[in-house]
């Protein structure tokens, strides 16, 4: 009997840990199902878009908070020139800088830009989190945010890919959007530019890029499925 009790207790403890840890770690995006999967109701495209946009909004919020915290801890250098010449590693990606530009852009292009941005930031954010964890200057709160941020980029990319697939399935966009999931497509261009950047610049750049992603997604949504909240 004690053996049974022990096993039961162990299993129970494991379950509790799983649940607890699961809550702590990630903010999971809602699982998206394909049509073939059973037990999973299919979401509409508008729903998918809403979820993705919410996700990106949250990601942007976290990046904004982190950037503000960094500014408190690290005063910006007087070297204003350096700031101006700061070069985000994603500046090579051509992104529309205005509403008209964004609206003029084709859906497929816009989608690709989004995906590129998300892909470009996966590694830098992961390394940023690693460096933050090692710095004892930062409190746990910032460290958790950085981890959350890097995870969210990952999840957001997957979500956007789902949206693209759905759009392609619905025939909204053509299949010319390349599958950017493959890491080989980006590793070449990515190289190690981001490794040269300082943490603060990284945050600055990411904050901007996350805002871009959010904006582009909104534009896409209101262009494709304008009935809800546009």
């Amino acid at each position: 009997m004690p053996g049974n009790i022990r096993s039961v207790c162990a299993v129970w403890a494991m379950l509790v840990c799983l649940v607890f840890c699961g809550k702590l770690t990630t903010v999971d995006a809602a699982p998206l199902c394909t049509n073939a999967q059973a037990g999973c109701h299919v979401l509409s495209l508008a729903n998918l878009f809403d979820r993705v946009i919410q996700h990106s909004a949250r990601m942007h919020g976290i990046s904004n908070d982190l950037h503000s915290e960094f500014e408190l801890y690290f005063l910006p250098s007087k070297n204003q020139i350096g700031r101006v010449s700061r070069n985000c590693h994603t500046s090579s990606i051509l992104t529309p800088n205005g509403k008209e530009n964004a609206q003029r852009m084709a859906r497929e292009e816009l989608t690709e830009v989004i995906l590129k941005l998300l892909v470009a930031w996966r590694d830098p954010l992961w390394h940023f989190h690693q460096s933050m964890a090692h710095h004892h200057d930062f409190n746990n709160f910032s460290s958790n945010k950085s981890l959350e941020m890097s995870d969210m980029v990952h999840e957001l990319r997957k979500g956007v890919q789902k949206v693209v697939e759905k759009m392609q399935m619905l025939g909204i966009i053509s299949n010319s959007v390349s599958n950017l999931a493959s890491p080989e497509a980006l590793l070449a261009s990515d190289s190690a530019e981001w490794r040269l950047m300082k943490d603060y610049d990284l945050l600055y750049c990411f904050r901007r890029d996350s805002n871009k992603v959010q904006n582009y997604l909104k534009i896409l949504k209101c262009r494709i499925v304008p009935e809800h909240g546009c």
């Binding site: 942007h60 500014e71 204003q80 205005g98 509403k99 904050r207 209101c222 262009r223 546009c230």
Partner: protein, 662 residues
């Protein structure tokens, strides 16, 4: 002199010019500073600066900016649209997500002064917090501040009779929310006219909002504002006035109805209370019982004469010392008139029990022993008299037979009393209740009306026999000394009586008639010696069940008893066949004022000849030949029912005593 005067004047002039010359010193203009930049829709933006000191010379300001990753310096395209000291960047010149490095230059004739450069990202336009020449901190904050919402429309709508406000608006026309370029969230506030507190409501991204819980007839002010995801709140829109119509009229009518209804109920309740005020007073505040001492005069007490008071309390006639008529104290006794071949049945009414138990001596002469000839009416009449005279039931015994409900204690009391009073037969007094004290007492009190005329002795004997039939056993349950002794005493006394033959008795004409006198405790029937009775009279066993009924009271105030035979045929001179049942105990008086006797089964079988009993099983007739007392009609008595219940009282039957059969 003159030269000196000129020198002084020149000196004075020089002195006067000196300050003037200092005041007009020209210098470079002061350093301007960018104060803020705003973008209302994330497509254009405007920057304002603060000029510094102008240095005494006309100063011009210029704004130059450089975009990110470009060295090209541009000048502000529009200095006038946004007002003084501002620069407006239109759509073509605005690039989002691009850093602008903006510098303001103040120039005058002497030179120019550059402001500190500010990095501006339209999305995150920072406000330079510049002090002096040192840039302490550049706090970058998003400063997209949209215009307030437009076309705010407020209407009153109804929901199931209750009004509510519907506020609708449109985003500022510049903000492009339709394309998703900018996302605005709205907030509105409401307040009553004249109040100071606003009620805030966050409306999210919707452009319509309902406000409930309005005050009827109130005037409200509504304002709306908006904010992008990351930006500043816009200014509040201009207030919209709205008046809520009065909708409480319907409610008021309901309240009026309710008020009227409750007022009505209140009136009724107060009226009822007023009507029953007296009884309510008694209920709530019961009156304090005052002392009730008979003979106590409150007035005397108030007057304060104690002697009079206490003297009044003294009852002179207590304890009774005078040798009053014992008969007066005694309960009335019955004179049993036993007509020939008739049996007497005592009956008594309930009324008699209630109130008739009073000393008949008070109302009757010494010949009392009057019962009612006619049991019902006379008894009742006597009851009325009794009640009139006052309640002296404790001293009463019924002539004809009191109720079974008679208290035993009282009976005993009386029995003892009577026994005490009995002078004739002290043996009998040992607990027996006498019914015929007069039998043993002075005879004049005893009056009998002879219905039939047997020999006096016979009658006496019969009477005695009937008396002897008085079952001692039944008395024994209530009296202290039952037993043979009493019977013997009875017999002896009866025999004495018989021998004395002083008074004629109304006896049953049949010598063998069963004289079942069923009387109450007060009534004791003297017994006749059994030896004589059966021999001479062939008296029947007393076991036969009979009811003695008091029929009438004759003119001489004698109770005429009338036996009511039950289911027996009586022949003259025969003993009634008794089935071994004896009615010796009085069960009670039923509603028909019939004395209910209890049957007691006796072993003896008496061979009885059917006796004359015209009342066999049925209606009884009055055997009173003369019933003239007070014109009381004779009442037919119903056949008494044989009851075998528990006996509260008892009636001595004359047949209880087991007579030897022969």
């Amino acid at each position: 002199m003159m030269k000196k005067f000129r020198e002084v004047i020149l000196l004075l002039l020089l002195l006067s010019f000196v300050p003037h010359a200092e005041g007009t010193r020209y210098s470079l203009p002061g350093k301007p500073a960018l104060t803020r930049c705003r973008s209302p829709e994330k497509e254009t933006f405007t920057c304002w600066w603060e000029p510094g000191s102008d240095g005494g010379l006309p100063t011009t300001y210029a704004l130059y900016y450089r975009k990110e990753n470009s060295e090209t310096v541009y000048e502000c395209p529009d200095y006038h649209t946004a007002g003084k000291n501002s620069c407006f960047f239109n759509k073509n010149d605005t690039s989002i997500w691009v850093n602008y490095n903006i510098t303001v230059v103040a120039s005058n004739a002497l030179g120019s002064t550059f402001s500190d450069p500010v990095d501006i990202d339209v999305v995150y336009i920072g406000e330079g917090d510049v002090e002096g020449e040192v840039v302490l901190l550049l706090i970058i904050q998003p400063d997209v501040k949209p215009n307030p919402p437009e076309k705010v429309a407020v209407t009153v709508m109804e929901d199931k009779g209750w009004p509510f406000l519907r506020v609708s608006w449109e985003p500022p026309h510049k903000a492009d929310t339709r394309s998703g370029w900018i996302t605005l969230i709205y907030e509105l506030r409401v307040k009553l006219e004249g109040e100071n507190e606003w009620e805030m409501h966050l409306a999210g991204q919707q452009k319509m909002f309902n406000i409930f819980s309005l005050r009827s007839g109130g005037r409200y002010l509504v304002q709306v504002r908006c904010k992008p995801d990351h930006g500043f709140w816009s200014e509040w829109s201009s207030a919209s006035h709205i008046k809520v119509p009065d909708y409480f009229h319907r409610e008021r009518s309901v309240w009026i109805l309710i008020t009227v209804f409750f007022a009505f109920i209140f009136l009724i309740v107060s009226w009822c209370i007023h009507i029953n005020s007296h009884s309510l007073k008694h209920c709530i505040l019961p009156p304090v019982p005052g002392p009730k001492i008979r003979g106590f005069d409150k007035q005397l007490l108030k007057n304060g004469k104690s002697e009079d008071i206490f003297s009044a309390l003294v009852v002179s006639d207590f304890p009774p010392t005078s040798s009053s008529n014992y008969e007066d104290l005694l309960v009335e006794y019955l004179e049993v008139y036993i007509p020939e071949e008739q049996e007497l049945i005592l009956e008594e009414s309930k009324d008699l029990h209630d109130g008739c138990l009073k000393p008949k001596g008070s109302t009757f002469d010494s010949d009392s022993g009057r019962g009612s000839c006619d049991s019902h009416t006379l008894l009742m009449d006597k009851c009325g008299e009794a009640k009139d005279d006052g309640r002296q039931t404790d001293q009463d015994g019924s002539q004809t037979g009191s109720e079974a409900q008679r208290q035993q204690a009282a009976w005993e009391q009386e029995a003892l009393t009577y026994a005490h009073e009995d002078m004739i037969s002290p043996d009998m007094s040992s607990g027996r209740v006498k019914t015929w004290p007069s039998v043993f007492s002075p005879l004049p009190q005893y009056s009998l009306s002879p219905l039939s005329q047997p020999s006096s002795l016979e009658t006496a004997k019969q009477h005695c026999l009937s008396d002897s039939l008085f079952p001692p056993s039944s008395l024994s349950s209530y009296l202290t000394q039952p037993g043979q002794s009493t019977k013997e005493a009875l017999r002896s006394s009866c025999s004495d009586f018989c021998s004395s033959n002083k008074q004629p008795l109304l006896l049953h004409p049949q010598p063998d008639a069963r004289h079942q006198l069923q009387a109450r405790s007060d009534v004791s029937i003297s017994s006749i010696s059994h030896k004589e009775a059966p021999a001479g009279l062939q008296l029947p066993t007393v076991r036969s069940t009979e009811y003695v009924e008091v029929h009438t009271v004759n003119e001489e105030d004698m109770v005429l008893l009338h036996p009511v035979p039950v289911g027996h045929s009586h022949g003259k001179g025969c003993l009634q066949t008794h089935q071994g049942e004896d009615y010796s105990k009085v069960n009670g008086v039923d509603k028909n004022n019939v004395l209910l006797l209890q049957r007691e089964v006796m072993e003896e079988q008496v061979d009885m000849c059917p006796c004359e009993n015209k009342d066999a099983n049925g209606a009884t007739e009055s055997y009173c030949t003369s019933s003239a007392q007070k014109s009381i009609p004779c009442i037919h008595t119903a056949l008494p029912v044989q009851e075998e219940k528990a006996v509260n009282g008892y009636v001595d039957t004359a047949t209880m005593f087991p007579l030897p059969i022969h």
